[in-house]
Point group: C2
Chain length 205, copies 2
DNA sequence: TGTACATCAGTGAACGCGCGTTCACTGATGTAC
DNA sequence: TGTACATCAGTGAACGCGCGTTCACTGATGTAC
């Protein structure tokens, strides 16, 4: 049993070494641009070894995307008590995620390939986008209720406006123009966006 | 002279046939995914003929992008008289452009390739994004002035909010998840966005 | 008008290269007895 | 304890294939005289 366990541990470490290298290389250069030779070299194994752990190159990419998505899901961040700060935390987490070069690189890699990665695209939508959509609407609804806002029917519009400006400031420039935002300035940006957003959606009373 | 002219006309028509096929195929499948063989077949020529009109495959892509950008620039749409409608027209044109499958497909193709297409990405930024940024800020500044708004210092924030929600509703879903918006509903979407935006930025008086 | 030649858009077939994948093999680490 | 054998992670080298690009050539359309 101990032999088997030892071998399994070894195998897991090789496997995760491959995925770690793959995640970095795919994010940096894209799926097609990374050869199995380069990937194997970065992971410290031979190309043939890749095929002991994964059926083909595409499956490595799939595993990386899955890992990313499940990481994001599990990072339901620490939440503050009052609803005001909960929305702020959520917005900051969203902006931070969409400013992460690794995340954006992998998103770009998924966007790049069409045929093959449509399955990955679906996972990104339902498990990435879908979850944030729900979270934002939940927090906003709570916030509007707490302020007796008359706009409770337009929660989704409010959510789209907030997420839109965050995406416009982080994901889009990086994705389209390779402009990396200064992540130190994210909190200030988020505060400014939320402040402006509040003037529209939170009664001033 | 007439022979030369005739030949030039012929050549132009072949050239534009190639670019037309390329624009469609690259938008639909991406740059790497379209082989010169497929491209030549779609254009009705042989692969060798491609190389009479373009030095290499990448230059064909570059020519397509250039054509797209200059088309966009030249479509400074018809403008209404009153400043309210001018912003609406601009927003609608923006949303319409970012919902065009051909445009989004080419944007995706540019985003996909990194090394080679960074030059194309720059053109997209300065001549695509940059021009819209200026136009939006100009119209918004005029609008705020017309309403004696006290927010004249935050024109760029106002612009980012408006463009953000438009992008969130058109470009992003299509780019990331292949969700094609119903273009017939664009005017309603734009009106709703503008209406909500106005409540924040235009004094209600 | 007729004939030899020049020009040039266009092409089919071949070339070379890089890449994903597989194969036959190695060697370390165990077990059987 | 020693020896023959089993297991299995790991690999170098080769295979095949697709693709971008180029080459030698064709044939239509003109000009020179």
């Amino acid at each position: 049993v101990s032999l088997q366990a030892f071998r399994e541990t070894q195998a897991q470490s090789k496997r995760s070494a491959i995925m770690q290298a793959a995640s970095r290389l795919f994010a940096e250069h894209g799926f097609r641009e990374v050869s199995t030779a380069a990937l194997a070299a970065a992971a410290g194994v031979s190309t043939a070894t890749l095929y002991r752990y994964f059926p083909d190159k595409e499956s490595i990419f799939g595993a990386v995307i899955d890992e990313l998505v499940s990481d994001v899901i599990q990072t339901r961040a620490v939440r503050s008590e009052d609803s005001e700060n909960r929305l702020r935390d959520l917005a900051l987490r969203y902006a931070d995620l969409l400013s992460d070069p690794l995340v954006v690189g992998l998103i770009r890699a998924v966007v790049a390939d069409r045929g093959n990665s449509s399955a990955f695209g679906e996972r990104l939508e339902t498990q990435g986008n879908g979850i944030f959509e729900k979270e934002f609407e939940t927090e906003i609804r709570a916030l509007l209720k707490a302020h007796n806002s008359p706009e409770l029917d337009h929660v989704s519009q409010a959510s789209r406006e907030l997420r839109g400006v965050l995406e416009h400031n982080t994901l889009l420039p990086e994705l389209l123009f390779h402009v990396q935002p200064d992540r130190g300035e994210l909190p200030a940006m988020v505060d400014q966006a939320l402040d402006s957003w509040s003037r529209r959606w939170i009664p001033s009373s």
